[in-house]
Symmetry: C2
């Protein structure tokens, strides 16, 4: 398949390398000339079976593409969509942005206007962050075993398009998770955006006491690790998903207010023990382990039910009529 | 020095091995016969310069001791203190329990009654938790570089006793942090106890949505790691320190409520960026890096000021008149 990857940071660069190493013809592009030069040098050193090329413009990159992967930060997505529209691109488009509702809205506004044939869009999000960034950190095996959401919007995403992209992503050894954009945005609010806010609150409050900073050990180190992320990136991620992050943060605040009441109660130790049990059981059961793979019909309802149950797709059948699906196995706390 | 270590779990076992390897004569004891047998077997296999012995009773363990290290969980501390009192023990006592105010209160009630000569007590807390537990996980190098609080209670701790214990602990390569019990309990509430409660809240809330569990990645894994700790242990730790954990949790709740308001504000991205900056700067400046070592007079006020400033002691001079102290170096965020 001819694929264009627009944006060659950690994720885009890793997608480029992973797709090239699975036999696709890949053209990359990045708005930053230095990044393009780095990628070109790396391409010249790549083995023959994992080679890609670097284009000088978005238009050049997508000229022959059947699939475009948009791997730029959210604020730059609209500009790329405009370039695709002005290039008359009508193939498949996916993205790797961490919020899906807003991207879907941008696609409706910027890509699907003024062209006779419409490009097909399947929103995506690989859950594969890392401390490192930039093309230099790109790793073709970054997605092995990682959850990769592909949005299946009723009335918007074509099932055929979804299966086409899903087929490609499963070959990167990712777990393809079908979801609608709203479900995705609510879930990442709970497991990614709220954790960033909590880490920041914890780090800021402890900073008021130098003694506390000196006594911080494992629980503080891990609980605050992502607080070191650049504030503008976290603000864009959480603020761009404010409608979902608000209620997710409320749920955590409610739980902590109950812990606070237990601390003031007649028996804080007993009250907290009861309060702590659900979180302990949940963490012992996480991450979900897959049960026995089953064949599922490749239909929207079945796929979305699978995603809601915490399941994922590991393979799309060649005839695109079924998928191999894995549901989380029930696991008793150790 | 003749030292008895009562309680041979991860911390007690590591203290035993670390002290034995620095040349002390160490006798260990554990209430659990199986743990005593494990420790005896390990003693037989230990090199000649790191050998210790295992006693059959607390009384036997402390009969010749100049220092007793109490390394049992908080609920068992009173019983050990009673045994020391009934054995007529009048040497030095320290402990490794994670809350210091309540232990000081137990010492006043259980150890310092009914004996003509009083045992000297210096409360301690090495910040060296680990996932593993039990004597089998004990490691003589566990304390290298770790902060180890030694309490210096005005009107209660003898400075000579403090310096004696501090001298011993610095030789385990730990950073000895002088503090009063209340300061310690407030600091660990912020950097250890509240992080445990937050991890639990995060894990419990995400468990409501199977999709969220499947999408959880690095920020969720790290932000919830300590939620898997046994609820009874966390409840004892946080509930036993309720007076300090309550206000520390309030401070974090206040910060999160301000983040919540930013999410509802006219520009969530801009509002959150401002809100995130202190936490990001704080985390980038953590852990504190030591500045140039200086000599300080070995006096209570100077030592406590050092601890409040986030500093620590690395050496006690042979004449016990000065200590080598390190204050955190100012560090610009990267």
């Amino acid at each position: 398949m001819d694929v264009a990857v627009i944006g060659l940071g950690l994720i885009g660069g890793s997608v480029l390398r992973a797709l090239a190493s699975t036999g696709h013809r890949v053209l990359g592009y990045d708005a930053d000339p230095a990044t393009r030069a780095t990628a070109r040098t790396a391409a010249a050193q790549a083995p023959a079976d994992g080679r890609w090329q670097v284009a000088r413009t978005v238009r050049d990159a997508v000229a022959r593409a059947e699939l475009v992967v948009i791997a730029v930060p959210l604020p730059a997505v609209a500009g790329v969509l405009d370039e695709l529209a002005s290039a008359g691109y009508t193939g498949l488009v996916t993205d790797v942005t961490s919020i899906k509702g807003p991207v879907q809205a941008l696609v409706d506004r910027h890509l699907r206007v003024g062209s006779d044939r419409l490009a097909g869009f399947v929103g995506g999000h690989p859950m594969a962050g890392r401390e490192t960034s930039g093309f230099g950190a790109a790793d073709p095996s970054l997605f092995t075993g990682c959850a990769w959401v592909l949005c299946l919007e009723p009335g918007s995403t074509s099932l055929a398009d979804w299966l086409e992209v899903a087929e490609l992503i499963t070959r990167l050894n990712a777990r393809v998770v079908p979801a609608v954009a709203d479900e995705h945005d609510r879930a990442v609010a709970a497991v990614s955006h709220v954790p960033h806010l909590m880490a920041s609150a914890l780090a800021a409050v402890a900073a008021d006491d130098p003694l506390a900073g000196t006594l911080g050990a494992g629980s503080f180190r891990d609980g605050t690790r992502v607080a070191a992320t650049r504030p503008d990136l976290v603000a864009a991620m959480c603020g761009g998903n404010a409608a979902a992050v608000g209620p997710a943060l409320d749920a955590v605040l409610d739980a902590l207010v109950r812990a606070r009441a237990a601390l003031d109660g007649p028996d804080p130790i007993d009250g907290l023990r009861t309060w702590l049990e659900p979180g302990s059981a949940a963490r012992l059961a996480w991450p979900p382990r897959g049960g026995t793979p089953v064949e599922l019909p490749a239909e929207s309802d079945a796929l979305l039910r699978l995603g809601r149950a915490g399941g994922w797709v590991t393979r799309v059948a060649d005839d695109r009529r079924t998928v191999t699906a894995v549901r989380p196995a029930h696991r008793d706390p150790a």
